[in-house]
């Protein structure tokens, strides 16, 4: 493998490109109209424009991505996560074009991407699944029959899209009278989001934790599970903070989860990187939830506690190498790692996206800190994609020290020009329940629902006075205080200057 086309954008495209370069492989980027100046493009050796800014015009265009791969002479395609990563048709199209798809086989993607088929695979492998319907609910089912099924599963019931993900096409039903409407709503949402209206029913567990097992499988039948990741800190079914190991997992439970995950993966002949998700009840009873047939957003925390480069292993497995890692070492975490997903969202305004130009960006550094970012100062965060800017990962010897280190790094992180979730994370990491590891998948939503919520960051008198002084000083001095760190340099800053970032800001400040 000499050249890999990365069919993605943002931080994950940057992450994969770095792995390529470290392995002596040339990274090839693709980009949409609004991503011309994105970091993943600037760091690549070659880049190909594949269309308009809307995902359906570019990052979801299999034809154009394959055309770019052909033009570049790439040997392989890495899909990243999101976009086409879990579309079996994409993996198949890549293989049909004579290229290597860096991921599982199209068949494994197809089976595990279908939630009822994945549940059936887990059942066959004798791994417990959450009680629910084994097949999709028939579209023409009578209301009375639907009620009967829900009653036999037991309320509260979750209506879930067979093709679902990220909370789309999902409804919680607490009372029988809401069931029919919820099924209808989930169907239409699933149809719009995934082009597949099929839904099934599942019991909603009470306050479970979301625990998942990363695994790697090679082409010779070896499947190795890793120490678990906990992703219970979620906002509306979206993961916000992930950590490893879980504060709720004993060594015995770790072995059981790992064995269950590996069994499911082996049952479908799984290869490359994947993740089996479980819900774990307070007593330690666990249920298979689903399998993600791709690299996860939160993979860096596993890398931090095991020292394994998962992206490099994806590439090594794809080019036919044997997985010769020590299985015990993968289940023995060294220290603790926490990831915060930094989003361009305004936490004080219902987490609404906050696109726009990043005027200032200073990422934290120092011991145990890893910042997987996809943006730089001067970049316009587009409105078209997931607004994640970066994943801030803190590693330390143990959980309290990892939290303290993450808290320290958040304080160093400066993003000016757009709103971010940084103040929210500083608040969250200070919560006593978080420090104690006492949470579950609805903990954060319950906490945020509190009616007397104050802004996440409350300036003390010292900070407010300093901000007031800084505003006045900036307005007065902006043009004639010489820069502390010398003249701006580099083509990126030049571009910013060309486009008048500084002038724009100075005008606005003086308004």
């Amino acid at each position: 493998m000499k050249k890999i086309l990365i069919a993605n954008r943002g931080e994950i495209a940057v992450r994969i490109g770095r792995a390529c370069r470290e392995m002596g492989i040339s990274p090839v980027a693709v980009y949409s109209e609004c991503d011309r100046t994105a970091l993943h493009v600037r760091l690549a050796d070659e880049a190909y424009a594949i269309g308009g800014s809307a995902p359906r015009d570019s990052y979801l265009r299999i034809d154009r991505i394959l055309e770019a791969a052909k033009k570049s002479g790439a040997d392989a395609v890495h899909p990243g996560y999101g976009f086409l990563a879990e579309q079996a048709s994409f993996a198949r199209a890549v293989e049909d074009a004579g290229l290597t798809f860096i991921g599982p086989t199209p068949d494994a993607i197809a089976v595990m991407g279908n939630k009822t088929a994945a549940r059936a695979a887990a059942v066959r492998a004798r791994v417990p699944v959450v009680p629910g319907t084994p097949d999709p609910v028939p579209p023409a089912i009578a209301d009375s029959q639907l009620q009967e099924i829900a009653r036999s599963i037991g309320y509260p019931v979750l209506v879930k899209a067979v093709a679902g993900g990220g909370g789309k096409g999902m409804r919680t039903v607490l009372h029988p009278e809401d069931l029919v409407g919820a099924v209808r709503a989930a169907r239409s949402e699933a149809d719009a989001a995934f082009g597949d209206a099929a839904v099934y029913l599942e019991r909603r567990l009470t306050r479970p934790r979301h625990i998942e097992v990363q695994l790697l499988g090679d082409q010779f039948g070896t499947v190795l599970p890793f120490v678990e990741r906990e992703c219970s800190i979620q906002r509306r079914h979206q993961k916000v903070v992930e950590e490893t190991p879980s504060a709720a997992v004993t060594p015995a439970l770790r072995q059981s989860l790992a064995a269950a995950a590996a069994t499911v993966a082996r049952a479908v002949g799984y290869t490359n990187a994947g993740t089996v998700e479980f819900l774990v009840e307070p007593g330690g009873e666990f249920f298979f939830l689903e399998m993600n047939t791709r690299l996860q957003v939160e993979h860096p925390i596993t890398e931090m506690v095991t020292g394994i480069d998962l992206v490099q292993w994806q590439i090594r497995i794809a080019r036919g190498e044997r997985l010769d890692l020590d299985p015990d070492a993968l289940l023995t975490p060294r220290g603790h790692a926490i990831e915060c997903r930094i989003y361009a969202e305004d936490p004080d305004n219902h987490f609404l996206p906050s696109p726009g130009r990043i005027l200032v960006l200073r990422a934290p550094a120092g011991p145990g800190i890893r910042d997987d970012s996809g943006v730089t100062a001067g970049f316009d965060v587009p409105i078209f994609y997931d607004p994640m800017l970066s994943k801030l990962v803190a590693w330390a010897e143990d959980r309290p020290r990892a939290i303290a280190r993450a808290r320290r790094a958040l304080g160093e992180y400066v993003v000016g020009g757009i709103k971010t979730t940084l103040p929210f994370f500083a608040w969250l990491l200070d919560q006593p329940e978080f420090a104690a590891g006492r949470f579950h998948t609805t903990y954060l939503d319950e906490l945020l629902a509190s009616p007397d919520r104050k802004p996440f960051a409350q300036p003390g008198p010292g900070i407010e006075d300093a901000a007031v002084m800084a505003a006045a000083l900036q307005a007065m001095m902006a043009p004639d205080v010489p820069p502390l760190f010398g003249a701006a340099s580099g083509r990126w800053k030049d571009r910013a200057r060309l486009e008048g970032v500084e002038g724009l800001a100075a005008r606005a400040v003086r308004r």
Binding site: V360, V415, I463, A466, L484
Partner: protein, 173 residues
Amino acid sequence: MQYDVETGGRVRHVAVTRTGDGFAVSVDGRLHQVDLARVDAHTLSLIVDSRPGPFGPGSVYEATTAPETDGRLVVTIGTVPVTLRLNGRRGGRRQGGAAPGSGPLRITAPMPGKVVRVLVKAGDAVLARQPVVVVEAMKMENEVRADRDGTVAEIHTRDGMSVEAGALLMIIQ
């Protein structure tokens, strides 16, 4: 230079004066000595009250200022964003008043203190940014400067006089 800064539902009165090696900044009459360095186009490093003397701890702040679309500013210090609105300067180039460079210019005291020296006399020609009065406050001498070229028309203070913040010191024509 004086500003009204609206934040947290109230208006803070800020007066800024250059001193020899920094700035004297009063916020609602409370005077601070600020050692200022610019980090980049949007970021200032402030060390407030760092010099020996009767001031508080030498607190370090790194403040990033970015405009909101509605004309407000967000000044972020650490993880704390402070949204504020900076209103027209007073005692200087008035917005909406006479055009810069014409009309009388009122020089006022940026903070309460004692006038140590009046550096000009009526009829003197002054240049923009030329020091015209030295006001001592909290053991610090602060130069009050002319905001533009002109001629000293009236002087309303004298050496040794105690003044309140905003007191008229002189008028430049």
